[in-house]
């Protein structure tokens, strides 16, 4: 799982509109995928560190908790309904968000688009 987020890290740093969107976002986010924990540390929109957990010494602003199968479906080019958005995962009990949710909401487009960077592009008929 950490490789996926390291790829997201590389992609984010090559995505100027997201770096601009996240220019005020300097926080650590906990990602929990089943038993695995990852800490994503953002500095002014850049994902500067992806650190495996667990860690009792790493404070985080908000957490997104899910499972590997749900994330795999989330990252499909055309995800099935409910798996197409982090809030969809929450509505079916396959995702959980806690911590400073207002911080997430203020940066919601940024965080959702960062999470979706691992989703391959698809062609959609006009």
């Amino acid at each position: 799982m950490i490789e996926v987020f390291r790829n997201i890290q590389a992609q984010l740093n090559e995505t100027p509109h997201l770096l601009r969107l996240g220019r005020l976002f300097s926080e650590t986010v906990l990602i929990e995928v089943g038993e695995d924990q990852l800490y994503l540390t953002f500095e002014k929109g850049q994902l500067v560190e992806v650190i495996p957990g667990p860690s009792r010494k790493t404070p985080w602003r908000f957490a997104f908790r899910t499972d590997a199968e749900a994330l795999e479906k989330f990252w499909q080019p055309l995800p099935e309904a409910k798996f197409h958005d982090i809030f969809g995962l929450v509505t079916i009990g396959r995702g959980k968000i806690d911590g400073d949710i207002l911080c997430l909401v203020k940066n919601l487009r940024f965080f959702k688009e960062v999470m979706a960077l691992a989703r391959p592009a698809h062609e959609v008929a006009a």
């Binding site: 197409h84 809030f87 969809g88 929450v90 207002l102 909401v105 919601l108 487009r109 959702k112």
Partner: protein
């Protein structure tokens, strides 16, 4: 260069005892179909259907911006008011607009909160309409979010609202129309999305009224997208089941803003809905 057939004008109506300057658009001829936009948006959601020559050959589509939305002004003194939409004011606005445009029993077609109010009018004022197309509409939806998030001095409510509602757009939607749909939320005035959501997520009065809707006189057709997290197919089915004679269509590849997010995908469902409505008012 091509000039679209949609025309826009203004009309002043009275709501809650005070004037409201309303912007409305129309296209087509024949049976009148009044189209209601969703929360936090405006008439632009309907532009694809209004530009569809086959649909407008026999249907006069009319869409208007609710007060405080789009190009309709808020009431005088708005700067000291807290915008909170109510069922009563919403119904009064629609009925006043219909009278002002001298429409004789139009079809009422609304999406999301527009679908909710269409069902309220089906229950309470059916004599003013010939039928109801309720899109992404259900009896009641409590909020799974805090509506106060979207009206804060320290953040852009429109940006946050757009980021939230993007969860309701299907991945099958063309990228350009997804973004055009979200743009309307980003443009909505401060507190407007919150005020619309107050109506949508707190007023559950429709539940007890559904049994009083008589579809033999005024047909009710409900349409729902599988990718809608706010009004799910289960919510729409529950609502349709509570209205004797109501029909339901589920769109597997669409979300909460079908006419706006994926006009090509939505078109056959809207054409089917129109075919279920009386040909004249």
């Amino acid at each position: 260069m091509s000039i679209e057939p949609i025309t826009g004008r203004y009309v002043t109506i009275t709501v809650e005892g005070a004037p409201r300057r309303i912007y409305f658009e129309e296209a087509g001829q024949g049976r009148a179909v009044v189209c209601l936009h969703t929360a936090g948006a405006d008439t632009r959601q309907w532009r694809h259907l209004m530009n569809d020559a086959e649909i407008t050959a026999n249907n006069r589509l009319i869409a208007f911006d609710m007060p405080w939305h789009g190009k309709s002004l808020p009431p005088e003194g708005f700067e000291t008011q807290e915008y909170m939409l109510t069922t009563e004011a919403y119904m009064e606005t629609i009925l006043a607009l219909i009278d002002a445009l001298d429409l004789d029993r139009p079809v009422l077609s609304g999406c999301s909160m527009g679908g909710r109010i269409a069902l309220q009018l089906a229950a309470l004022r059916p004599e003013k309409f010939s039928g109801f197309i309720a899109i992404e509409a259900s009896d009641f939806q409590p909020a799974w979010y805090d509506i106060d998030w979207f009206d804060r001095p320290d953040a852009h409510g429109g940006e946050m609202g757009a980021a939230l509602v993007s969860a309701n757009i299907s991945p099958y939607a063309p990228k350009a129309e997804r973004e055009n749909t979200l743009w309307m939320f980003k443009q909505s005035g401060p507190g407007i999305f919150r005020g619309d959501l107050s109506f949508y997520t707190r007023d559950d009065s429709l539940i007890a009224r559904l049994g009083g809707i008589h579809t033999a006189q005024t047909p009710v057709h409900i349409i729902v997208g599988a990718y809608d997290l706010t009004c799910t197919p289960q919510d729409a089915k529950r609502t349709a089941d509570a209205i004797a004679g109501a029909t339901l269509a589920v769109m597997d590849e669409l979300g909460h803003f079908p006419m706006s997010e994926h006009p090509v995908g939505f078109r056959p469902f809207f054409v089917d809905a129109l075919s279920k409505m009386p040909s004249q008012g």
